[in-house]
């Protein structure tokens, strides 16, 4: 059996964790908030580190890793709550010039019925619209967009778009379904990072915060919340790694589509519920803007809207039975 990280994978994970360390400094999210979520220098740094290119051929600046390697990277980006259209820019590495090295920021919008929500519209150089027929390049300045004045996640600015132009076709339905599958896995991986980071934050606080003369983590009421958080994170992680491996090697499983739907459902749920529990463990301080704990659950809420949303993920899982 070979279903756990090997030495190279651990090194990759550690490398990205170290790279993102500055992002976890307590004052950093607020600096980002002022910058509208995407800092160009930081984006290029991520690009140079291989975040967007690592699955590309060496001739294109990549290291030819699989989706499993990319998932490990995205888990670390999630742990550090790195803002920006990371999944889209990674998926566009081979399709949009400059995306792979972080020189251009690529956004993604799911085309559907009704109003479209576009994240990071003001920061993106290229916007890719995803639908069943393919991938389309829509010029960011070519349509009317109404900013959401108080975006739920301060690090994810959002615009409402009533009429999204068709745009210029970049790729056909096969690439579109590949973006769904791979994008879902990377989103699940990012969510796994959040689920894990919130567990760590809650446990650290429960060890340090004292009430009734002892650390609150000594009380079962708090301890059991933390145990459930770890369990959710571990279940989501197992599902996510399995989905990444299944996409890399479809012959090894019955149905890669089911593995991906399951991972997206469980990992985003773990991030969302753990995000709330993390605030609960932090008590009143967790409810303050300054404590930054809120940023986890708010990003988790953003992730839960992706690829059709939580109910669609459960439907997709059900459809495979």
């Amino acid at each position: 059996m070979n279903f756990d990280l090997d030495a190279d994978e651990r090194a990759l994970q550690q490398g990205i964790r170290d790279l993102c360390r500055s992002d976890t400094a307590p004052d950093h999210p607020r600096a980002r908030e002022a910058a509208g979520g995407v800092d160009r220098d930081n984006w290029r740094e991520l690009g140079r580190a291989g975040v967007f290119a690592l699955r590309l051929a060496e001739s294109e600046g990549g290291v030819e890793l699989g989706l499993t390697g990319a998932a490990l990277v995205f888990e670390e980006l999630g742990r550090a709550l790195v803002p920006g259209p990371l999944v889209a820019s990674h998926l566009a590495g081979a399709l949009v010039d400059g995306a792979a090295m972080g020189d251009r920021v690529v956004g993604l919008v799911e085309r559907g019925q009704g109003v479209a929500f576009v994240e990071h519209l003001e920061a993106v150089d290229v916007l890719v619209a995803l639908d069943d027929d393919g991938l389309w390049s829509v010029a960011p300045g070519s349509f009317e967009a109404e900013p959401v004045t108080a975006p739920l996640d301060p690090l994810t600015p959002v615009h409402r778009v009533t009429e999204l132009p068709m745009g210029e076709q970049l790729a056909g339905p096969e690439d579109a379904s590949r973006w769904w599958l791979e994008g879902a896995v990377l989103t699940a991986a990012f969510a796994t990072g959040i689920a894990s980071a919130t567990t760590d934050a809650a446990v650290a606080y429960a060890k340090e915060r004292e009430q009734f003369g002892r650390p609150i983590g000594s009380f079962q009421a708090v301890k059991h919340l933390c145990a459930d958080m770890l369990t959710r994170a571990e279940v989501g992680r197992a599902a996510t790694y399995a989905a990444a491996c299944a996409v890399d090697d479809p012959a090894a499983v019955d149905d890669p589509g089911r593995a991906v739907a399951s991972a997206l459902l469980l990992a985003t749920e773990a991030a969302f519920v753990n995000g709330k529990d993390c605030i609960q463990v932090h008590g009143g301080m967790g409810f303050t803007w300054e404590a930054n704990v809120h940023l986890y659950v708010k990003r988790a809420a953003v992730l839960r809207t992706r690829f059709g949303g939580a109910d669609a993920h459960a439907e997709a899982a059900a459809a495979t039975w």
Partner: protein, 385 residues
């Protein structure tokens, strides 16, 4: 990291599958649930069949008479056995999964030679005398007394939740030998022959209607000192050694059974029209996702067991905590879907629903699992005494 099996593992799977298909075809029909003599005969005959084919004690070390298979091979065998419809350990549960491995690790040369081969051959059946009416989650507070009298211990007390006591030849018994010592330090592990005078076994009926559990009353029961495993007052450590051997495979058969039950529930929902309800469909999809994730968690636990990596105990506790709660959700949904059909205890889904209520209690309740995860894995401080 990948989901592939190695060429060796594939060869092992092919060999196990071929053998299991042929062996299961020869199996006599399963005896009635309450005919304990017939069940013992059925399960021990299967154990003998496994033994003669070299599959007994797959996960036991070769020096204990086992096959010394890797955790991955063990997982594959359990998977293939479930697929073939082969029996699981049955009445051999305690001997094969706990008492045997404990004696293999902590017993003397004589004890290993005397007790291990009959377990592997299906000749002797064991039960477990750990829990007491006053010592459940707080097992170390057990009060069954053993007093030294010459070359025997004289044992008085009561045990409970003793599975298969009515057909067991031996009992792995925890007794208190030093009432003055701190509770974990005054316990001794004894081999109790079940035909010793002074033992009374009274079966308990569970809410599932079955009687695999018993109360065991011990009155002036004389156990030779030679039957002690490990040192006097070191029995707590001896008992715990085996738990640390757990390699992530304890629930494999159970989980595969749960996946089959889930598929059957999907069929039930399709047949009744409930599948047309999006809410029901999503709940079933969610349960399927959880069961698949638990399988992935099992593969990870087994990989870590092979490599000796990971946080010891993390995988097993996380698995048990989540799996048992998934079984509750699945059972609750089944009861909703079945409606009045759920009033029949013979229905597999109803049995599953009832069984789930035991799963969050047995082998460390959900609440104890959360304490274990919180304290031993996350390092949170202990509850104030």
């Amino acid at each position: 990291m990948d989901l592939r099996t190695s060429p060796d593992e594939q060869a092992f799977r092919a060999e196990a599958r071929a053998w299991l298909e042929a062996a299961v075809a020869e199996l006599p029909p399963k005896p009635p649930a309450e005919d304990w003599a017939a069940r013992r005969a059925h399960d021990t005959t299967w154990q003998r069949t496994l033994h003669d084919a070299g599959y007994a004690g797959l996960d036991w070390p070769p020096e204990a008479g086992g096959r010394g298979a890797t955790p991955g091979q063990h997982l594959i065998f359990l998977e293939e056995a479930e697929r073939a419809g082969a029996p699981y350990v049955g009445v051999g549960f305690v001997g094969l999964l706990h008492a045997g491995p404990t004696i293999a690790a902590e017993g003397s040369t004589e004890q290993r030679a005397r007790y291990l081969p009959p377990i592997l051959r299906g000749e002797e059946v064991w039960c477990q005398g750990f829990s007491e009416p006053g010592a459940g989650s707080d097992l170390a507070s057990l009060s069954t007394r053993a007093v030294l009298d010459g070359d025997h211990y004289v044992v008085n007390g009561q045990k409970i939740w003793t599975s298969f006591a009515q057909v067991a030849d031996f009992c792995e018994l925890l007794v208190r030998t030093d009432p003055a010592a701190p509770k974990h330090r005054g316990i001794t592990w004894l081999i109790l022959p079940m035909d010793t005078p002074g033992i009374e076994v009274r079966p308990l009926r569970t809410i599932g209607g079955s009687s695999e559990f018993s109360e065991v009353f011990l009155t002036d029961v004389r156990v030779p000192v030679a039957n002690r495993v490990g040192d006097e007052n070191d029995g707590w450590r001896v008992a715990m050694v085996t738990f640390s051997f757990e390699r992530g495979t304890a629930f494999v058969g159970d989980l595969l059974g749960a996946r089959r039950l889930h598929e059957s529930l999907v069929e039930t929902a399709r047949a009744s029209g409930a599948w047309e309800d999006g809410g029901i469909r999503r709940e079933l999809g969610h349960l399927g996702a959880d069961l698949d994730a638990l399988w992935a968690l099992t593969l990870r636990n087994v990989t870590q067991a092979e490599r000796g990596s990971g946080v010891p105990g993390l995988g097993g506790s996380v698995f048990k905590l989540h799996y048992t709660q998934v079984r509750h959700r699945m059972g609750d949904l089944a009861m909703r879907l079945l409606g009045p059909d759920g009033l029949d205890l013979q229905d597999e889904h109803v049995r599953g629903w009832v069984y789930a209520m035991s799963m969050t209690i047995a082998a460390g309740t959900t609440q104890i699992q959360r304490n274990i995860i919180g304290e031993r894995i996350l390092g949170l401080p202990k509850e104030p005494a």
